[in-house]
């Protein structure tokens, strides 16, 4: 039984469909394990918060909710633009897709800028990572980890933008964009939790 020497058209498509299913599942599992990483630190936060020192611990003022809320709005907005970017790509509106993706990247950068302002404000009040007890430890570790994820997301989305300008993706094959969108929504959802535990409750 000889084996076909060149995969014909239909076979190549089927191969793509199969590898896409594998990659999608792999990527979702990656997000699950990332979620566990955040959950562990959130567990640490809750454990320390309930260890009887009161919250916020004496001598610490919580970060301003106004700036935090604005920042959250920016990030959630970027989730919406990312969603519509992918939808437009699927429909073939490449120009609109590119602009929406650029907006997403800019909003992500704005979020990081807001976080930088927040950090410097706290530093001015001498609230630091290592020097402010369990508040500093949990706040800066969790928001810093999240900020790092946003930074990675910005880099990832920029790569996706450059790739799609060079025609790597088309209307049938856009797994990279799906993964990017999933990742960005994941970062959003994490911020919902972090915003609630640090600013609201």
């Amino acid at each position: 039984m000889a084996v076909a020497s060149v995969p014909h058209e239909g076979q190549a498509d089927q191969l793509y469909v199969e590898t896409r299913a594998l990659r999608l599942q792999g990527f979702l599992l990656f997000l699950v394990s990332d979620l566990v990483l955040f959950s562990s630190f959130i567990f640490a936060y809750m454990y320390l918060r309930n260890s009887g020192q009161g919250w916020p611990p004496p001598g610490i003022t919580r970060p301003a909710i106004a700036l935090g809320g604005l920042n959250a709005a920016i990030l959630f907005g970027s989730g919406a633009t990312m969603h519509y970017a992918l939808e437009n790509f699927k429909r073939g509106n490449f120009i609109r897709y590119a602009w929406l993706l650029i907006f997403t990247i800019i909003l992500g950068a704005l979020f990081l800028g807001g976080q930088a302002i927040e950090y410097t404000t706290l530093f001015r009040e001498h609230i630091t990572w290592a020097g402010s007890g369990i508040f500093g430890a949990s706040f800066f570790t969790l928001t810093g980890m999240h900020g790092f994820h946003v930074l990675c997301g910005i880099i990832y989305l920029t790569i996706l933008l450059l790739q799609s300008v060079h025609g790597v993706y088309d209307k049938q094959r856009y797994f990279g964009l799906t993964a990017g969108t999933l990742y960005w929504h994941f970062v959003d959802v994490i911020w919902v939790v972090l915003f609630s535990i640090f600013y609201l409750v």
Binding site: Q11, L15, E18, L29, L37, S39, S40, Y47, A130, I134
Partner: protein, 555 residues
């Protein structure tokens, strides 16, 4: 297992085999080569960890110590435990056997992400070197569990330990994701979940543990590292942190981790016991689903390690009861294996001997585990030699016996040659004698209150410790015989055909050693994997499945 070779379809895509030495044997993408790399590296660390164990036993031959200083003794048992858990047990059973055998057993050509697989492997020896390099800067001294505040005060090597375990954790996480996707998506046509060999069920139950539990440990390690290097207060009680929090985060990983080390061994045992009893496995579904039940329940029992750590009494009781509950699926397995042997035509090969040894020794370990789950008893023996007795019975009497059984069983498949059965039996007898003499007395020492992890002890325990040390040399000698047998058999073992044991699972239907692409045609499976009523051998099928594949270009 009933199999037909299927022609046509997507399965015909075959990359050409790489020819250069480096691409073929060093940075290989082939799951079989990667699995063998895991096995060899894990065995190297087994030797190193075993030598550390002998240092411990030599030290304990004298009640006043004197062989090692107390500080070095602490370093030795800490690195011994860390090595055996993270560099021997987990990599050999998941990355090693899982890579070599699992994709073939489900009828796939490779794992889902070969590149990721290669990265997983290469993180592992790097992490091992980092762990051992911590001796150069003052190794960790708080045991493999590294409880704060002691681990906060340890020398610089403790931070190196954190980094090394973090790295090997990434390797495990990637392996877990890879295996999960492989088993979910890449089974051959007809290979339903209820037809999957039980070794694959073991891997399937293990993969989520690798993926989820290990990430939780990564967070705990990162926090410990940050506290040690940057002074961020997580665990130091004087600065608002909580040392008990480490114990929660550590055991949330490390209790599932012992199931990571035992579920694949359960899988190996299920394969071996059915083949050498010449009987379909008893209670296939019970064994398969109890693996999943153990994996799930394993996430809900971690605080039974912490009964003496000051957790609230209302929390202790549920953890005790849930731990008792885990004995139920484990007991289901033990009884199913015994029922498999009952009335079977038993072949006492080396692999089968280790399997029977597993059944007996692991049951001992399981029972002492139930003892430890009972709070009143645990309060009495916590921190004594009863704990090492239990952990060695489940991890050496369980996992390591499973590893040996797996190596004797699959050695012909990996190399095309059989290991010496005579020396295999000598290995078995000496190993079990040495093992029992070393670890059985630990139960009594623990009940009498000899504390673990101390370099000196009360002279009344001297005789019993001397006896244990002598038996530990017997065990080491048995392992030496095993290694000589392996090295000798690779070159000079008896050449055997593709299926020397007459097994029915897919890996035995292709030539030994396995060809680069496993199956020329992806097989279609119908029927159960342990159906010994089918005639043997499937000579025609072997040709159908694997006459030399004609590679097509890269796609």
């Amino acid at each position: 297992m009933s199999v037909i070779a299927e022609h046509g379809g997507i399965a015909e895509h075959i990359h050409p085999e790489p020819q250069g030495f480096i691409r073929k044997y060093i940075f290989s993408l082939d799951h079989k080569i990667i699995g063998i790399q895991y096995l060899i590296t894990g065995m190297v660390f087994l030797v190193l960890g075993g030598l550390l164990a002998e240092l411990i036993r030599i030290q304990l031959m004298n009640a006043n110590g004197g062989f090692l200083t107390p500080d070095v003794y602490d370093e030795v048992y800490s690195i011994h435990g860390s090595t055996m858990v993270w560099l021997v047990g987990i990599p050999i059973l998941t990355g090693g056997f899982g890579n070599v055998i699992m994709p073939v057993q489900i009828g796939a050509r490779d794992v889902a992400f070969p590149w990721l697989n290669m990265i997983s492997f290469w993180l592992f020896p790097i992490a091992g070197l980092m762990l051992f390099s911590s001796f150069l800067m003052g190794a960790p001294v708080a045991g493999w569990t590294e409880y704060p505040p002691m681990s906060l005060q340890g020398a610089a090597g403790t931070s190196m330990w954190c980094a090394a375990i973090f790295l090997v954790g990434i390797s495990s996480t990637l392996t877990g994701m890879n295996f999960l996707v492989t088993i979910l998506k890449m089974r051959a046509p007809g290979m339903t979940f209820t037809r999957m060999p039980l070794f694959c069920w073991g891997q399937f139950a293990t993969a989520p543990l690798l993926m989820i539990a290990t990430t939780a440990l990564a967070a705990a390690l990162a926090a410990l590292f940050m506290e040690r290097q940057f002074g961020v207060p997580f665990y130091d009680p004087t600065r608002g942190g909580s040392p008990v929090m480490w114990q929660h985060m550590f055991w949330f990983y490390s209790h599932p981790a012992v199931y990571i080390m035992i579920l694949p061994a359960f899988g190996i045992i299920s394969e071996v016991i059915s083949v050498f009893s010449r009987k379909p496995i008893f209670g296939y579904r019970l064994i398969a689903f109890s693996s999943a039940a153990i994996a799930l329940a394993g996430f809900m029992v971690w605080a039974h390690h912490m009964f003496t750590s000051g957790i609230a009494p209302y929390m202790q009781l549920p953890f005790m009861i849930l731990t008792f509950v885990i004995a139920v699926p484990t007991g289901v397995k033990i009884f199913s294996w015994m029922a498999t042997m009952w009335g079977g035509k038993i072949h006492l090969t080396s692999a089968m001997l280790f399997t029977i040894g597993f059944l007996i020794l692991f049951t001992f370990g399981g029972i002492s585990g139930v003892f430890l789950a009972a709070i009143p008893f645990d309060l009495h023996v916590h921190g004594t030699y009863f704990i090492p007795a239990h952990i060695h019975y489940v991890l050496v009497g369980g996992s390591v016996m499973g590893i040996f059984a797996g190596i004797y069983y699959w050695f012909p498949k990996i190399t095309g040659r059989q290991m010496s059965e005579f020396w295999g039996r000598v290995h078995f007898v000496l190993f079990v004698i040495g093992f029992t003499g070393t670890f059985l007395p630990m139960h009594w020492l623990g009940a009498m209150g000899m504390p673990r992890r101390v370099a000196t002890y009360d002279p009344q325990f001297q005789t019993i410790n001397d006896v244990m040390s002598i038996f530990s040399f017997v065990m080491t000698f048995a392992i030496l015989i095993f290694f000589i047998n392996v090295i000798f058999s690779i070159r000079n073992g008896k050449k055997v055909g593709h299926n020397p044991w007459g097994a029915r699972t897919l890996e035995w239907q292709i030539p030994s050693p396995m060809p680069y692409y496993n199956f020329k045609h992806i097989p279609s499976v119908y029927g159960l994997p342990y159906d010994f009523t089918e005639p043997l051998p499937y000579a025609h099928l072997e040709e159908e499945l694997t006459d030399s594949p004609v590679p097509v270009g890269a796609h």
